[in-house]
Each structure stands twice: as C-alpha cells, then as structure tokens.
C-alpha cells in the first residue's frame, strides 16, 4: 500500500479542490470541502496567536523571565490548527516538547499558559511543569511531553477509552519525524490498527530532529509510508497549508468516528526557529534552507489567500486582528507577572491524589 498525497489545487471556478494522488503520481480522485469563512478566519487567528505567543515566550526567555527551556513551533502552526479545527472539544490529544501550538489550537487559556511559563501559582500546572509540560484536561489536552514519543502510547490509551465509551470520540497523537523512529510509535500504531481505535497519528515532519537531519535517520523518505506496515491509510499533506491539513484531518476523523480505525497523516513542514531558544544551541541547518521555508510561511500564505483570493479579509482586518492578538498576549504576560510564585512548601503537594 503506497501513501496517498493530498494536493490542494483550484478548479476553474477558483474553488479549492483536493486532488488525491498516489505516490507515483496517478490520480485517485478529487474531494471538495470548504469550512465556512468564519471558521477560516478563526483558524488564521489561532495560527497568529500561536506565533505571537511564542515570539513573546522567546523574548521573555532571553530576558530571564521564563526559565529552563522553550521549544518554539514557529513555522508549523498550520499543523496544530489544521488538525484541531477538525476536532470537537471532547476529543483528546497529546503533544510533544514543542507543545504551545497544540495547546492554543485545542483552546487552552493564554493567561494560564503564560503563567506556567513564568513559573507562577496560577499556571496550568501551578508552576510545576513549565513550557515542556502544559496540560489542560478540561479541553482534552492530555499534556506536552519531554520524552520523544512518550505521548504516543498515552493518547492511544485515550483512543481506547473513546472506543469503550462508544460515543464517537477520537484521540490524536502529535509527534515529530524523530519520534516516528522510536518504538512507542510502532507499538502503539500496531495496536490501534488491530483494535481499530479511533485515532489520528499526526507526524509533524519538519525535516530535522534536534541537530540531526531526518534524511540521516529515516529509512524511507516518507513517514506516511510506514502506515502500510500496519494496514492503515498513510497520507502526505503540505503541512504549511492549513486548509489541506484541515481537510486531511476531517477525512481521518470521519473514518475514526465511523469505527474504521486509525490514519497516519504526515504533514511536511519546517521549524523556522532553532530547536530550542537556548543561545548556545548549535544550528546545523543552512540559512538557505531556513530562508526557503520562511518564504513558504504558513501564516503569510493563508492570510494572503484569504485577503487576495477569497476576499474574506481586508488588509485592515488582518492588521486589526494582529493588534488584538498582541493585546491578548500582553494581557497574558501582565496576568503572569501579577501572579504570585507558588509557596515553596507546595513542592510537596500533588504527589498523590487525595
């Protein structure tokens, strides 16, 4: 079974059409889906919110107000937003060490996120987790994770719970190309395929894991091709095209809700920022490669598309949206700074449930 590629093209009437083609290029069919204009604007807003949140987190990390380590998702926002826009609030996800985007796309509160980065009592984890460990169980965000591939079995368990509940919930695993080389990925996806769990496995292939290019560690070029080994659909999609991601996710969600089992979707994307925000982090990627991908920036592309092609947004609307987002980010920083640090003795709280 070859992975299928979903390519978003336009027909004569400028309607978006997705051509589904095989890896060898033969045409398998078309599909057409169009979320409402409001939804698309909301998706743009979420993407820009992630971008602005992380730009601020990076600045405040360098200023010494945020500690430890921060991994930015800049350039990959279309993946989290494209997928989460196809989910319901009760659907569950797990994230990675690069988790701010998944949190925001799933609907997390910016104030509590920023407060967590600031190590404050009002943060999502009461200051115990920081950037790498944000969770919001009330919106089905079961946690970012410091262990590569650590979240994949966990969310597969959430998929099992959804299947047992029997009310159509799905569970979504976000992970990197690097994680797709790790045992937990293969073990989980095999079980999910066999048990037909309502799952989406979303590989964010940003072409590198830390300082190692994916080309040096993946035995195949496409992570999606691995789906064949488990007898499930493998889909490749432009991870910088939020609508393409959204549509691929929508199909996979429908499949999962219908009891047909998991789908592996590989989103080809790029991390424009360094692996972490630490200054000493060494960069092995060429500036040509980084610049090339900055030209394919998912937010610029989507905004231009909505402004120029779809006419859903004016330049002025876009500017206003960005101003509102910047205000919301500033408000989250103000909230964090106004919040107290936790009491030292609270280090001993929450080891066990009471």
């Amino acid at each position: 079974m070859q992975p299928i590629i979903i390519v978003r093209l336009r027909d004569k009437a400028e309607q978006a059409v997705h051509h589904i083609v095989g890896k060898s290029g033969h045409h398998l069919g078309n599909m057409r889906m169009q979320p409402s204009p409001n939804n698309q604007i909301e998706m743009l807003r979420q993407m820009q919110t992630i971008r602005r949140f992380e730009e601020r987190a990076s600045d405040d990390f360098h200023a010494g107000d945020i500690y430890g380590v921060v991994h930015c998702y800049i350039g990959e926002e279309a993946v989290a937003v494209g997928v989460c826009s196809a989910l319901e609030r009760d659907d569950r996800i797990t994230s990675t060490h690069r988790g701010h985007g998944h949190c925001i796309a799933k609907g997390a509160d910016l104030n509590r996120m920023m407060a967590e980065l600031y190590g404050r009592e009002t943060g999502y984890c009461k200051g115990k987790g920081g950037s790498m460990h944000i969770a919001d169980f009330s919106i089905g965000m079961l946690g970012a994770n410091g262990i590569v591939a650590g979240g994949i079995p966990i969310v597969t368990g959430a998929g099992l719970a959804a299947q047992l509940d029997g009310n159509g919930g799905v569970a979504v695993s976000f992970f990197g190309d690097g994680a797709s080389n790790a045992g937990p990925f293969h073990e989980s996806i095999n079980i999910a395929a066999k048990w037909k769990l309502p799952m989406l496995y979303i590989c964010e292939n940003n072409l590198h894991s830390a300082n190692t290019p994916a080309s040096k560690t993946l035995a195949l070029e496409d992570v999606a091709a691995r789906a064949a080994g488990y007898g499930i659909p493998g889909v490749i999609v432009d991870g910088n095209d939020v609508m393409a991601v959204h549509d691929a996710a929508t199909i996979a969600v429908a499949r999962a809700r219908a009891g047909e089992g998991p789908t592996l979707i590989e989103c080809k994307t790029y991390r424009q920022s360094g692996h972490t925000e630490r200054l000493e982090a060494y960069e092995h990627r060429t500036s040509e490669e980084i610049d090339l991908w900055k030209k394919k920036d998912p937010i610029t592309q989507f905004a231009n598309n909505l402004i120029q092609r779809e006419g859903q947004l004016s330049e002025a609307d876009w500017k206003q949206m960005d101003d509102e987002i910047l205000q919301a980010i500033q408000a989250s920083v103000d909230f964090a700074k106004a919040s107290p640090f936790p009491k030292p003795e609270s280090a001993l709280d929450d080891i066990f449930a009471q």
Partner: protein
C-alpha cells in the same frame, strides 16, 4: 597546571581513547561534528531516537569485539532503554557464565538546577546501583572525570558514567600527561577532624563551601567524595568516620533507597565504625518529590551549602 572544564575533561578522555583503540565506537542521537571530523561517521554515529535499540545494539557490538560508548545524553532518555539495561546489560556476562566480555560505556548527565522540570532533572543512580553487574562512576572534578572516563572506556564491563549537569562548565587542574584513576576508589577532598561529609558530585563543592563557613565557627570538616557508586569504597568512608566520629551524607537525589542510604548502612553496619559514632548519621538530600519547574519550588527541593552547614550544626548539637 592547565585548567579545563568538566565537560572538556570528559571529551578529552573520549578523544584520547578513540585514538588509542580503533575498536571504540560512539553512538548518540547527536554526533559531535568535531568527532565525526576526526574519526569518521562509521565510528561516530548519529542514531535515530531509539535509545532502547541503540543500547541493545551496543551490547551486541560489545559482545562481538567492539567497545561502544553510548551517550544517552540526559539520564531521562535512558529510561526508554530500561529493558536493555536491566535485563540485558547488567546480567549478560553473569547469566551466560562469563563466556564473553561486554566492554561498554553509557554516558548520561544527572542532576537538576536547570529549571527543566521533573523529567529532565533526575538523579536516579541508586536505581542502577541496585542491579549488580553495572559499574557506576560519578565524578565531581575535571581531573576525576578524565581519569575515571579513561578507565571506564578501558574496562571490560558495562560502566555507566553519570555526569553532573551542574558541573559541566566547572574548571579545574588537569595535567597534560596521560593518567587514569581506578574505578571504586574514593577521594578525600578535604581533611578534617570533627565530622565527615560524604558528598556526591555537585554536592562535593557545596560541602567544601560549607566546610569553609564551618571552619570559621571552629568546626573541622572532612569531605569524602566516593567518585564511584559501584563499587563503592566503603573502607575510605569508614576510615574517615572512625577518625571524626560523625557522618553527614549530602546527595542531590532523594533519600529513599538512595546512594545516601547505602553509604549510611555501610558505615553503621561495620562494628568498629559504629563504635566510633558520637552522633546519629544525618542525610541532607533532595526532598523525595519529582523535581518541580518554578525556581522557588526547585530551590526548595534541592540541598545546598546552607542546608549542609545547618545539618552539620545539628549533628554537632
């Protein structure tokens, strides 16, 4: 004498041993460009993120004539390889009746202080001490790092080199000429007569700082650095305690079933040493919790020079 950092001392030992023995290999998710440059990508391998498989492969290559050095990087990632460490590496020589040698080094940083939260701030060496079949070093100075690392690479058994993340930039004297240090030999880092502090890795430096403060109060502190946790040099520790009559153990790990518990037991169960004790043994360790992120919480959890000095005053009554 020339001064280099703790991290440089480890790298220097590695490079010298790679030059010395063509059977050595390095496996890690991150291949250091300088090593690839000198030794090529056959011997210096960037692996996929697959610590379990890579650890097992190192065991297999070691049993087939090579000397792999696996860099797990942070001890956090070794947990993904627990089957290969616990069920395989630590038992393979013994279980097969000593048929083959398994010359292996596993490198991993340990410790907190970086505000990296629970998963990336661990000091779990006692879990590995408990296994029988793994040697464990945990140096506190660049000099000890270099000498012990070279011995670890030359050893015909699996050795875990735990390396304190807090000490990476710490500089100290390291001679240009070749030397090694024996695994399993403690070092008296400061002589004193009123109390022995056995301190591990970063806490050796905190204990030395506490000893300076206490000296001004008229208290003479002896600081013993075990340097290796398995084998653990009970004799040097007991000799020191027989001299001072008091023992405080400082460890960045939690106390429960920790290296500190083992050191306390080895001291107290020796009749001659027990007879010399003038006060109960005291431990100054991290609180027994996963390490929290926020600086106020993290500082509260870890021991430091002030907590050590306070502990000494309490022992002296």
């Amino acid at each position: 004498m020339r001064q280099i950092s703790y991290a440089q001392a480890g790298s220097e030992a590695l490079v010298e041993e790679l030059r010395r023995d063509p059977k050595t290999l390095v496996l890690s998710t991150d291949a250091a460009p300088a090593l690839v440059e000198e030794f090529g990508d056959q011997r210096i391998r960037a692996t996929p993120i697959a610590e379990g498989a890579v650890t097992g492969m190192a065991i297999g290559a070691a049993g087939s004539g090579y000397r792999p050095i696996v860099n797990w990087r942070i001890v956090t990632f070794s947990f993904v390889a627990m089957d290969q460490i616990v069920n395989q590496a630590s038992k393979i020589h013994y279980m097969f009746g000593g048929q083959a040698k398994f010359p292996l080094v596993f490198r991993a940083t340990v410790g907190g202080g970086g505000k990296l939260a629970a998963q990336h701030s661990q000091s779990p060496y006692s879990m590995f001490m408990n296994l029988a079949g793994l040697k464990i070093i945990l140096p506190s100075t660049p000099y000890d790092m270099k000498g012990l690392m070279k011995s670890a690479i030359r050893d015909d058994n699996p050795v875990i080199s735990f390396e304190s993340s807090r000490l990476m930039g710490f500089k100290g004297d390291v001679p240009e000429e070749e030397y090694t240090l024996p695994i399993g030999k403690a070092d008296v880092k400061r002589e004193g007569s009123d109390i022995t502090i056995v301190a591990i890795a970063w806490l050796v430096h905190e204990a030395l700082a506490a000893a300076e403060t206490l000296a001004k109060e008229g208290v003479s502190v002896e600081v013993v650095d075990p340097r290796s946790l398995f084998p653990l040099d009970a004799e040097t520790i007991r000799t020191s305690v027989r001299k001072t009559g008091r023992l405080l153990i400082a460890d960045e790990a939690g106390p429960t079933a920790g290296a500190s518990a083992e050191i306390a037991a080895l001291t107290a169960e020796d009749a001659d040493t027990f007879a010399c004790l003038k006060a109960p043994i005291k431990r100054v360790c991290a609180l027994q919790v996963p390490v929290p992120y926020s600086p106020v919480l993290e500082d509260h959890v870890f021991p430091d020079r002030d907590k050590i000095a306070a502990g000494v005053r309490a022992v002296l009554g």
